[in-house]
């Protein structure tokens, strides 16, 4: 796993405007992980089948993933996305079978 392929294309930076960063400044980011498109997702399929049995006949497909909310402290908002992406590449996601996206969902400067 390398850190060289990082791009900012998946970061949505909605709420962060203050550029004064202190150790107490926190940013909450969310890493969302899904099985890669070409990987069968038997869990998602079982859940989709169960929804259909409950009468939700409209369900065409379900993909089961997971998400992690990570609160960062003392991080420049401009670097938070890259930091989260490195965390995803090193641990949170397994790149052999999973894709991930990163978003920043809130920031706080006390």
């Amino acid at each position: 796993m390398t850190d060289t392929s990082i791009t900012d294309s998946t970061v949505t930076d909605a709420t962060i405007t203050d550029t004064t960063v202190t150790a107490a400044t926190t940013i909450k980011g969310r890493v969302t992980i899904f099985p890669r498109a070409e990987i069968l997702d038997p869990q998602g399929k079982a859940i989709g089948d169960a929804l259909a049995r409950l009468g939700f006949g409209q369900v065409r497909e379900v993909r089961a993933g997971k998400s992690f909310d990570v609160v960062l402290a003392g991080v420049d908002p401009g670097k938070a996305g890259e930091l989260l992406r490195r965390m995803a590449e090193k641990l949170l996601a397994n790149p052999v079978v999973e894709d991930f996206t990163v978003e920043l969902i809130s920031g706080e400067t006390p």
């Binding site: 869990q43 641990l91 052999v96 079978v97």
Partner: protein, 234 residues
């Protein structure tokens, strides 16, 4: 041979492996605690089955970052034998010491049953007591043993002779019906390019004495002992 069996919080096959090495084969065997970055001079390192760290995040993901794993990497890089069984195989994948990844079993069920394995390599320190094409009967017990990798990576693995065991029929035929968990190309065991790091989902330590219903797994440990004797006399 001095054998180290690494104990993680949640390991549950550690004593079985220790028993085979120490009492069935008469080797010097010790337990190694995951939190201690020291192999205590062991020639062989075994990562046993179980549910290390409760399989948090992904099976093997937390264990792959345990302090002892830095030493296991060093041992592997120096050519020392490392055997990962079941959860230990998952750790080797998560640690990047072997290629690929595990998914949930095809039918989403925990499988606890005997399977048949075809031996694909008999020229390794792990398999010299077997013959290529020989069929072994071994138990599996896992929910996430559905081996997968990108097609080109699987091609490269096969070309490099990385597939050591495949799920097969009692007659040695690979067919989807004999593949219990949906693993790509019926792969049950994988070795690294150096031939010294082996990961496998089936449990050889659970079939190393007749009293347990079979001895097909004993050959794997006996091969390692024979290889260590060769090293000593080389």
């Amino acid at each position: 041979m001095r054998c180290g069996v690494v104990v993680f919080p949640g390991s549950n096959c550690d004593h079985d492996v220790y028993h085979v090495l120490k009492h069935v084969l008469g080797q010097d065997a010790v337990f190694l605690w995951h939190d201690e970055a020291d192999l205590h001079g062991c020639d062989l390192v075994v990562l046993p089955g179980g549910f290390a760290y409760g399989d948090y995040l992904r099976a093997g993901a937390m264990a792959a970052l345990s302090p002892i794993m830095a030493e296991v990497r060093r041992h592997a890089a120096a050519g020392g034998p490392v055997l990962g069984i079941c959860n230990g195989f998952q750790m080797l994948l998560e640690a990047g010491l072997l290629p690929g990844a595990m998914r949930r079993n095809r039918d989403l069920r925990f499988l606890c049953q005997d399977v048949w394995l075809r031996v694909e390599r008999d020229d390794l320190a792990f398999t010299s007591r077997y013959a290529r094409g020989q069929v072994l009967r071994m138990p599996i017990a896992h929910a996430e043993g559905n081996y997968v990798d990108r097609d080109e990576a699987l091609d490269a693995l096969e070309k490099a002779g990385g597939v050591v065991f495949r799920y097969a029929s009692p007659g040695g035929e690979t067919a989807e019906g004999w593949n219990p968990n949906g693993s790509a190309r019926a792969i049950a065991g994988v070795v690294n390019a150096g031939g010294n790091v082996l990961g496998m989902m089936p449990h050889p330590e659970r079939c190393a004495e007749q009293v347990l219903g079979g001895e097909d797994g004993l050959g794997l440990f006996a091969s390692l002992v024979a290889a260590a004797v060769e090293v000593r006399h080389a």
